[in-house]
């Protein structure tokens, strides 16, 4: 258990937490001094480049690297032969190995087949052209529905599906079937006054971080290596690279650079093991930076989906049954996160009878990685569309209908656990108080308003934090999670709060893998929660030590010392007998009272709080072109406790913007040849500044009892409601229900023209 077990006092007043100080990495970032993945160079480094398959699915008949090896300036060429064979071991590791470098076959357009390290980028590029690969092209499939047909080409040899009874005898592209739910949906549907049934299809999207993957690796002949890398999880980089290279973890020291966005896409490894393998072979440091095209083709986009959903309700809007069948393709290895989708699908609602089924399907596409609440935007699009359709058919207010069905404390969730205190109802009730809701949709044709709810589980996990008290009483705080949204400031705020000192006295760094115990990746909205509570507990441990030192100095018992606003004070019978000692004073005599002072804390945090949100969207539709303009947008979400409100607002706004892009224009476009057609920011269309209005935010705070200050992770939930909110706004504006994401102009125009007159 992660903290002292005492619930957060309602209405607690904080001194530092909840303020908006400047972030410690701020000046470096606005001056260009901050160093990201590609901003590092090592003496004598080579440049590494990757050769990638141009086929959606192919056998590798032969690879001849001899001409490339002879090119002056080339120091190493590698193929799968230079990496170990992990067959028979952990399947996940084997999948990562194969994804990193193809073995007998290439499984998607862009799959790596070889890599070179040379003295310059242009020589490395020229060397790639000299590598001769003989492919035998195989039939491919890139659509999830096509992949499930009985005559579909088998991806990566196919598999016998798990989770289906009776067990299939024939291989298919379906890895596994998941099921969640409770109650009796047949009875529930029989009890319903209205039943809505809809099908949906969503295309894959990419996290779209502006910084491509980059690393510099140095692996010496003695098997000891270092790496500088932009990543969401440098401990994971160490673990995976060690496995890929056949090394013990202590041999590798990974330093996380500043990171230019991740959103889940940098939780997985792509070029890092290759950089180490090249470095080992060349006996020189190797720098590898992905191009934007490589990022789109060969990192980890989301799944694409095909879904069917049926919801039944009483006339008063109370849902009686909900059933969803969700099919995700996540590339050639499974792991599309359809299980998360099946769990998240109805998580916002208190349902007596619910069943979700998820199918994890193979396709010849890059292997899916997490993208901000992975799976939830996709499934919530379906749920919020159907809920709205029911509300519309029953003539119910969209907020009231959702309130009627909203999950609350004590609700048995659709995916199993029972909720503790949660904030969904609070966000729905708060909708009605917003200036946005109180302002009618601006008068004009084809304008409409939509509402949608969303949810994310949030995660805790392995965390190690260390806090040293410097000789002058200031604090050196080290945690192990790459800072993607301002967490150094949040950790400093929590440390300052617990110690009772000014924020400026704390300097927080992200330590490398050699300097701290293990830390899970920066994902799952876990850092402010888990590293935060660990920071608070590390501070409490430091406080214990400092109180003991003060006690020793005063010659009194340790339990007769309290801590207040950065000072040890004598308490009880000794109150007032001695002047309080500041941290500086205690630190100044540390070597006489027992040595340097530090506090540390390691835990597996398992008390994360779920975060619910509700969004309001106003849109205008140009009915002659199908173009959608977002006129106004508001995000309401429960943060538990906002440590740094500006950063919480930033998460709400950023997630909403990504969701809006996903709803309207972002998609992976494949040709009949199975090749990706839009591997760049020109035709993979993320929102630009002129596409969006100001994004209003409302932070609710229903404390999470599992964190000393009530923190809930907030980073992921904001991307979940927008697809539904925009779809519902379009329906309100035009009467057209879109079931196909993205709701891009050609599709919307076609739907508008097909509308019953």
């Amino acid at each position: 258990m992660a903290h002292d077990g005492k619930p957060v006092a309602a209405g607690r007043k904080f001194d530092s937490v909840g303020t908006r100080p400047l972030r410690p990495d701020g000046i470096d970032k606005v001056t260009g001094r901050a160093r990201y993945g590609a901003d590092m160079n090592m003496p004598g480094q080579l440049i590494g480049k990757v050769l990638r398959s141009p086929h959606a699915h192919a056998l590798i008949k032969s690879i001849d690297t001899s001409a490339a090896e002879k090119l002056p300036g080339v120091r190493a060429v590698i193929t799968a032969r230079d990496l170990p064979d992990l067959t028979g071991g952990d399947q996940g590791q084997m999948d990562t190995l194969v994804n990193t470098m193809a073995r007998e076959r290439t499984l998607y357009d862009g799959h790596a087949v070889a890599a070179v390290a040379a003295s310059s980028a242009s020589i490395a590029q020229a060397a790639l052209k000299l590598i001769e690969v003989v492919y035998e092209v195989l039939p491919h499939v890139t659509d999830v529905d096509e992949a499930m047909k009985p005559d579909a080409p088998l991806v990566n040899g196919g598999v016998i599906t798990n989770g289906v009874t009776p067990k299939p005898t024939k291989k298919s592209n379906v890895l596994i079937r998941h099921e969640f739910g409770h109650g009796n949906i047949a009875k529930g549907f029989a009890d319903a006054d209205i039943v809505v049934e809809r099908s949906f299809k969503t295309e894959a999207t990419h996290q779209g971080y502006i910084e491509p993957h980059a690393c510099v690796a140095n692996l010496g002949a003695d098997g000891t290596g270092d790496m500088w890398v932009c990543t969401q999880g440098h401990y994971n980089v160490r673990a995976v690279c060690a496995a890929m290279l056949g090394l013990e973890q202590s041999k590798l020291r990974i330093t996380a650079s500043e990171i230019g966005g991740g959103f889940g896409g940098k939780t997985m490894l792509f070029i890092e093991p290759l950089a180490f393998a090249l470095s080992r072979k060349a006996n020189r440091p190797v720098k590898m930076v992905m191009s934007r095209e490589e990022v789109f083709r060969a990192t980890g986009p989301t799944a694409s989906s095909s879904m069917w959903m049926k919801v039944g309700a009483k006339k008063d809007g109370r849902v009686t049954a909900a059933h969803a069948v969700i099919k995700f393709q996540g590339g050639p290895f499974g792991g599309s996160l359809v299980d998360m989708g099946a769990m998240a699908c109805f998580a916002c609602y208190d349902l007596p009878n619910v069943k979700t089924e998820g199918y994890d399907v193979f396709c010849n596409r890059p292997r899916a990685a997490a993208y901000r609440a992975p799976s939830a935007p996709i499934v919530t699009f379906a749920t919020e569309s159907v809920m709205q359709e029911i509300a519309d058919k029953l003539g119910l207010d969209p907020v009231d209908m959702r309130l009627k069905n909203a999950a609350k404390e004590g609700t048995k969730s659709s995916y199993g656990p029972t909720y503790g205190p949660i904030g969904l109802k609070a966000t729905l009730e708060a909708v009605k108080e917003t200036p946005h809701w109180k302002t009618p949709v601006a008068p004009g044709k084809h304008r409409g308003r939509g509402v949608a709810c969303g949810f994310w589980f949030n995660f805790g996990g392995n965390t190690s934090v260390s806090m040293a008290i410097n000789a002058d009483g200031t604090v050196a705080l080290a945690y192990g999670n790459p800072d993607i949204g301002g967490s150094r400031a949040s950790m400093s705020l929590m440390a300052a709060e617990e110690l009772g000192i000014p924020y400026e006295k704390v300097r927080c760094i992200v330590a490398d893998t050699a300097s701290l115990g293990y830390n899970d990746t920066t994902d799952g909205s876990r850092v402010t929660f888990a590293a935060g509570l660990s920071t608070i507990n590390a501070a409490r441990n430091a406080i214990k030590v400092m109180c003991a030192r003060a006690a020793k100095t005063w010659g009194i018992s340790e339990d007769a010392v309290t801590w207040e606003k950065g000072h040890a004070k004598p308490a009880g019978a000794n109150a007032g007998k001695f002047e309080p000692l500041s941290m500086a004073q205690i630190a100044a005599t540390a070597q006489n009272t027992g040595g340097p002072i530090a506090g540390h804390f390691e835990t597996f945090a398992d008390s994360a709080g779920v975060s619910f949100g509700t969004h309001i969207a106003d849109v205008e539709v140009d009915e002659e072109t199908g173009k959608v303009t977002v006129l106004r947008y508001t995000v309401l979400q429960d943060a538990g406790k906002a440590i740094h409100p500006s950063y919480v607002e930033g998460q709400y706004q950023g997630g909403a913007a990504q969701g809006i892009g996903w709803a309207l224009n972002e998609e992976y476009i494949y040709g009949k040849d199975g090749r990706l057609q839009n591997a760049g920011f020109l035709d993979y269309r993320i929102p630009v500044a002129s596409d969006l209005p100001m994004i209003e935010t409302v932070i609710l705070e229903i404390p999470n009892p599992g964190h000393p200050y009530g923190v809930r992770g907030v980073g992921e939930t904001p991307i979940v409601p927008p697809l539904g909110a925009i779809a519902n706004a379009i329906a309100a504006a035009t009467g057209v229900r879109m079931g196909d994401i993205p709701m891009s102009p050609p599709k919307l125009l076609k739907a508008l023209e097909g509308r019953a007159r």
Binding site: V30, S646, Y647, Q653, G654, A689
Partner: protein, 158 residues
Amino acid sequence: MSHVHVTTTINGDPTEFLCEADETLLDALRDRLNLTGTKEGCGSGDCGACSVTIDGRLVCSCLTLAAEAQGRSIGTIEGMAKGDKLHPLQQKFLDHAALQCGVCTPGFLVAADALLKHNPDPTETEIRYWLAGNLCRCTGYDKIVKAVTEAAADLRRA
């Protein structure tokens, strides 16, 4: 291929470097001159992370050949602050939390600086359209627009 010798001015400093004929200004800045504040986000002129000014005009350095810098005056993010005094735009970005991961920030600052020199009193719409060539994936642009608006007001008052 033999290298091109370029003599230029960068942030007011006389500078010389050698580069390949097909090398971009972005690559020369980052790899020859160690000015890594300017970033490569896409290499195709679609993201603006590589924004610099050439003779005062805002451009993408990834779509400029390094050889074209000959005799010109280049402005990068490294030249925006004066010693330890931040430019009002830089300060407002910090004050308004107009950055999260910060990788797009140098490009935005250079672009916003060019905007305010061209139009000292831009409307929200003018700001958004001028900055449409700078992609941000983290912020949703809201706090960026607010920071630029406030910096513009500060500069007008100065």
